[in-house]
């Protein structure tokens, strides 16, 4: 065995060292400030960068949720857009089409409705495995979209508009006039590589308006952080172990006392919860939803984000989701070829990094050692008596 495999660098739930905490704090501040910085090269020249960042954050939430289902529990869900749609439509129904509840009241309802839809879909379908599950979930995503298209109650093909924005702080007056913001944050402008404060462009804190997407991005980024923390806590607990065991060997897990069906359903419900959350945020930013917003292609894109990033690795998945949104926006000038480039990029990735940009470290390392073992078994017995050759049975 190689020396590298004998230790496993893993941040346990110990007290984090101060430098690490500082790095995290700086990173968080940086990500919050990103829409104000207008960094050259990185920012998207042809579309509003804050808007792009918001979409990226939404995709990151979606990818983190889908990663629980696909990466941790090993259930290929091709209809994830269905939960996203359920979240978005619940917001649309209760704030605009059939009610006028405030967004913050509807948000938890939307999330719970999405979770329930996850349980309803999962309870009968999680008994099938592998490819069959993928097909069934694919159908679910389409059913949601077609139901929305064909039901007038759900807005039909035209969709639902006038979905309210989240409440600003301080709230607008009852007659709709905008109150003064708490403060205004100036943006940075760049003259070549020299930054200076731009006094003309300011983001009003905290006003959810149509023009400035930065407050929406901050809201979505906050949700990303909360989901990420929850992800870490759950993954490093009994629940995470049960998911991983189920993914690795369902029968063995069951025999070791893991109620595998319950845990698969739990993964599905958690995934749906997060998907619904992302959908709700999307709806409030977009201010209208229609069935075309939830096409099958979006499901494929979500799975692509997870697979490109490296399923099972939350950081990889975050990178994957960000790239899936960012690259097409950054290179908008090649708009006609965007899909072609995207396809090429996916192919190159499949060839050179088949397990994603950041593969789940443990899977990768385990496989490397496995290959080593096979090499030892087949070739000369370099490891001596330790590497016992398996019987052919």
């Amino acid at each position: 065995m190689s020396a590298a495999s004998s230790t496993r660098p893993k941040a346990k739930g110990k007290v984090p060292k101060p430098p690490k905490a500082v790095i995290i704090a700086i990173a968080v501040v940086f990500f919050y400030a990103l829409p104000l910085l207008h960094l050259p090269i990185i920012s998207t020249p042809d579309s509003d960068f804050a808007g792009v960042l918001f979409t990226m954050a939404i995709y990151v939430i979606v990818a983190l949720g889908l990663n629980v289902v696909v990466g941790y529990a090993g259930l290929l869900d091709l209809g994830y857009v269905g939960f996203y749609a359920v979240g978005a439509y619940t917001v649309a129904m209760l704030t605009s089409a059939h009610g006028s509840l405030p967004f913050l009241v509807v948000l938890p309802i939307a999330v719970v409705v999405a979770m329930i839809s996850g349980v309803i879909l999962g309870a009968p379908t999680l008994r099938v495995r592998g490819d069959y599950l993928a097909i069934v979930t694919l159908g679910f995503g389409e059913i949601i979209r077609l139901a929305a298209t064909n039901s007038d109650w759900l807005g039909g093909a035209r969709g639902v508009s006038k979905i309210p924005a989240p409440p600003s702080i301080p709230p607008n007056k009852a007659d709709g006039t905008v109150t003064d913001p708490l403060f205004e944050i100036p943006h940075i402008k760049w003259d070549g590589i020299i930054p200076s404060i731009d006094d003309e462009t300011k983001t009003r804190f905290l006003k959810f308006g149509v023009l400035d997407a930065a407050p929406y991005y901050w809201m979505a980024l906050t949700v990303v952080l909360v989901v990420l923390i929850a992800d870490v806590l759950i993954k490093n607990s009994r629940v995470g172990r049960a998911w991983e065991a189920t993914r690795e060997d369902e029968d063995a897990a069951e025999i070791m006392g893991v109620p595998t069906f319950r845990y698969k359903l739990l993964a599905f419900a958690m995934g749906a919860f997060v998907g619904g959350l992302a959908g709700a945020l999307f709806a409030t930013r977009q201010s209208f939803v229609n069935p075309q917003s939830f096409a099958l292609l979006l499901s494929i894109l979500f799975v692509a984000a997870v697979v490109v990033g490296g399923q099972g690795n939350r950081w990889g998945v975050i990178i994957g989701a960000s790239l899936v949104v960012y690259l097409p926006e950054r290179f908008r000038e090649f708009a006609d070829f965007r899909v072609l480039f995207f396809g090429l990029a996916l192919m190159l990735l499949a060839i050179f990094r088949p397990e994603g940009i950041l593969p789940a470290g443990r899977t990768r390392r385990a496989k490397a050692v496995e290959e080593e073992l096979i090499a030892v078994e087949e070739g000369s017995d370099t490891d001596g008596a330790e590497a016992e050759v398996k019987p052919s049975a």
Binding site: M256, G257, P259, A360, E370, E388, K390, P391, A393
Partner: protein
């Protein structure tokens, strides 16, 4: 497999030394036209090491699967501490107190040795998502216990120094030991080992026998399935011999060794490693 049969009301489960812990009562199992088990009856007593042996294809693993609730017998039943196992889910049977290892090793390959064992300890954990999310004191306690217990068990089977290696990267012999530790982690009253020595060389077999004795001495009842008679003779208190799905003998190792039916069953049978 649909599990429709209701279990019979259980008697008071109070295991005392020497009392039967698991009873196989006239079990017959048919797969279509093939009778895999034909009226097999025996029991396992508290605190003993029982060997279940037979030539290849005798029905050992099938019998084992009936005992661990994987197969539902066509007729007859397996009772654990007086209550029937039919119709119970497999994870419930594990929580009742039967743990097993696999003939073809089935570890959670991408998890470390320690985590593999912790999955077993978790069988009795009450932690759910909410407790994990809020890191309640109880969750912390259970997590700490799982880790401590897993280390103890790795120590017991002698692979504590490999606790943080991936299961897939362990040498073959250590993988077998890890399977035993993982099974023990579920706090079983009965530990079933399915051909634990498959693929071992004689020196490793001796070490394994020592381990099995050590496990028994720490208070577990052990069932060992083997087709290698010499190995079983050395470690078991009692032996049940199967051939073609029927029990042909039962007794102490010495009795079995001189039993003409057993000798006939084994005579001329190649001792190879593919008892599937």
């Amino acid at each position: 497999m649909p599990e429709l049969i209701k279990d019979t009301p259980s008697e008071a489960p109070a295991p005392t030394p020497g009392a039967p812990i698991l009873e196989v009562d006239n079990v017959t199992l048919k797969f279509g036209g093939v009778t895999a088990l034909d009226g097999v009856s025996f029991d396992i007593k508290q605190g003993e090491i029982l060997g279940l042996i037979g030539p290849n294809g005798a029905g050992k693993t099938t019998c084992f699967n009936v005992m661990t609730g994987v197969y539902k017998p066509t007729s007859g039943e397996a009772r654990f501490l007086g209550s029937s196992l039919a119709g119970r889910k497999r994870f419930e049977i594990t929580r009742l107190g039967i743990a097993r290892t696999f003939q073809n090793i089935r570890l959670f390959r991408t998890m470390t040795a320690l985590e593999n064992v912790m999955v077993g300890v978790d069988a009795h954990s009450t932690t759910g998502v909410l407790r994990a999310l809020f890191r309640t004191p109880r969750q912390r306690k259970e997590q700490a216990y799982a880790e401590k217990r897993a280390h103890e068990l790795l120590e017991l089977v002698g692979i504590e120094h490999r606790a943080h290696e991936f299961a897939a990267s362990l040498p073959y012999g250590d993988q077998r030991r890890l399977e035993i530790a993982r099974a023990l982690a579920t706090e079983p009253k009965l530990l079933c080992l399915d051909e634990p020595a498959a693929g071992f060389n004689p020196a490793e077999k001796v070490k394994l026998l020592e381990l099995i004795r050590k496990v028994r001495d720490s208070g577990y009842t052990v069932l060992v399935i083997e087709h290698d008679m010499r190995l079983v003779m050395g470690v078991t208190d009692r032996i049940v011999v199967l051939e073609f799905g029927r029990k042909i003998a039962e007794g102490t190792p010495a009795e079995i060794r001189d039993n003409p039916a057993v000798i006939a069953a084994y005579l001329g049978v190649e001792d190879d490693d593919d008892a599937a």
